[in-house]
């Protein structure tokens, strides 16, 4: 029943963005290992967040423009379910590749070895939450011609908890403490977003189409 929604997308763009910003950090701050080691966990998390944000605008945009969003709304299948498949597709196309790219970025920013595993785990769960929460913003702004900037304005405050716990999981691990607590909280956030977000998105899409 689930059809591959988009075979070709701008899969690479958020990744390239991710990579380029990482190059900017040593250029802008300092290439010294001591400085970058401290910055690495937070920086990677912040940039991953921005890369996710950038990719969100396209989530429903083309469906809205070519009329397939209407068709989804008129499908006898429950809309939150269809929406969820789209969000999962988005996560597979942005979150997972971002996560897979982090070892490379970690090396470039001298992330201590203990940080890699928590970074990847926290990004795996965190990008899921970010796709879910962000899709609410995407659904709310899809009816706007220039929704991109407003989408970021609307979604960024909601990303605060994910960022805090995601980055701190890595920091704790680097300092040699246990980080399972943070991962558990990230997981709890992910589960609640998973349960609630599709309904909010479905409602928002109905409104956006209803004009």
């Amino acid at each position: 029943m689930i059809v591959a929604f988009r075979h070709k997308g701008e899969l690479a763009n958020p990744l390239i963005f991710f990579l380029m910003v990482v190059v900017f950090i040593p250029l802008g701050i300092s290439p010294e290992k001591a400085v970058l080691t401290v910055l690495a966990p937070g920086m990677i998390w912040v940039i991953a967040l921005l890369a996710t944000l950038l990719s969100l605008d396209g989530l429903f945009r083309s469906d809205f423009d070519d009329g397939s969003l209407e068709q989804m709304l008129l499908s006898p299948q429950p809309l939150p379910w269809l929406v969820l498949t789209k969000i999962v597709a988005h996560w597979l196309m942005t979150g997972i590749p971002l996560m897979l790219l982090t070892p490379l970025l970690g090396t470039m920013l001298y992330l201590p070895a203990e940080g890699y595993l928590p970074l990847m785990i926290s990004l795996l769960i965190g990008t899921g939450s970010m796709s879910l929460i962000g899709s609410i913003g995407a659904a709310l702004t899809v009816g706007l011609r220039k929704g991109g900037l407003i989408l970021s304005l609307v979604v960024m405050p909601l990303y605060v908890p994910v960022l805090i716990f995601g980055a701190s999981a890595v920091n704790e691990a680097v300092q040699g403490f246990a980080y399972t607590g943070q991962i558990a909280i990230l997981g709890a956030m992910f589960v609640s977003a998973l349960v609630l977000a599709p309904f909010a998105v479905a409602g928002a899409l109905r409104i956006s189409v209803n004009t």
Binding site: T141, I150, M156, P157, P161, L196, A204, S208, N210, T211
Partner: protein, 248 residues
């Protein structure tokens, strides 16, 4: 024509407008009286604080503004929810009008906090848990306002903002808890002053009065703005035309 249902729906803002004409005035004067008494009492007569001297007096604006700014978000989100559930136009108007007032109060709280912070902590800005939460609340307000502005279609603007403020409301406790937790993790040693030791009653009474006064002020401002919004949106209807003609 009068039998058409959509006229009945329009009827409710009219009723609200007429009913609140008196109330707005009463609340307005009440707010003014409480504000003036509270400010004079707080700034003029309440005793000086031992450690901070007179600079602490800014709490008489800072604390009420912060408290009402928080409450304002709930007013906004709940009226948005009412609008979504019962399709009440009026409650969307309340939601729309609450956003800029709440944002202004949040800004006031942040600004007074910064002014207070300089003599107390030596910096205008400190990454304190409460300040950071306030700043994020400010962003949440700005998001709702930006979305409201972006839509040309009023109905779409109302409904999307209602959903957004509801999502925000669900998130506020999570954001606050996580910021608190983040702060305890990074807490620098210098910030002991945020934990207010039990406040003397002579200082507390004017503060309580000020909190109520700002609530009143919020209510008055909200009513006034909603009334203007009603006139603005219902400008095509006969009763608004009558009022405008009568006023001339």
């Amino acid at each position: 024509m009068a039998s058409w249902q959509w006229f009945h729906r329009l009827g409710s803002p009219k009723w609200f407008y007429e009913k609140t004409t008196r109330w707005t005035q009463v609340i307005g004067w009440l707010a003014l009286a409480m504000l003036s008494v509270g400010i004079v009492w707080g700034l003029g007569f309440a005793p000086e604080e031992l450690k901070q001297g007179n600079s602490y007096r800014i709490i008489y604006i800072h604390v009420p503004a912060a408290a009402v700014a928080m409450a304002g978000y709930y007013v906004m989100a709940l009226s948005g929810a009412i609008g979504l559930i019962w399709r009440m136009k009026l409650s969307y108007m309340v939601m729309k009008c609450a956003a800029p007032i709440g944002a202004a109060l949040t800004f006031a709280a942040l600004f007074t906090g910064a002014v207070w912070g300089k003599p107390t902590w030596g910096d205008y800005w400190v990454w304190d848990a409460r300040i950071t939460s306030m700043l994020i609340l400010f962003f949440l307000y700005l998001g709702v306002m930006a979305l409201q502005e972006a839509y040309q279609n009023q109905e779409a603007a109302d409904k999307t903002c209602a959903i957004l403020s509801l999502v925000g409301m669900v998130n506020i406790p999570i954001i606050y808890k996580s910021v608190d937790w983040w702060f305890t993790l990074h807490q620098p040693a210098t910030l002991k002053l945020t934990e207010k030791s039990s406040i003397a009653p002579e200082m507390a009474y004017p503060l309580i009065l000020m909190i109520f006064a700002v609530y009143m002020f919020f209510a008055w401002l909200l009513l006034t703005k909603v009334r203007v919004e009603i006139l603005h949106r219902e400008v095509k209807t006969q009763w608004v035309k009558d009022i405008v003609m009568g006023a001339k």
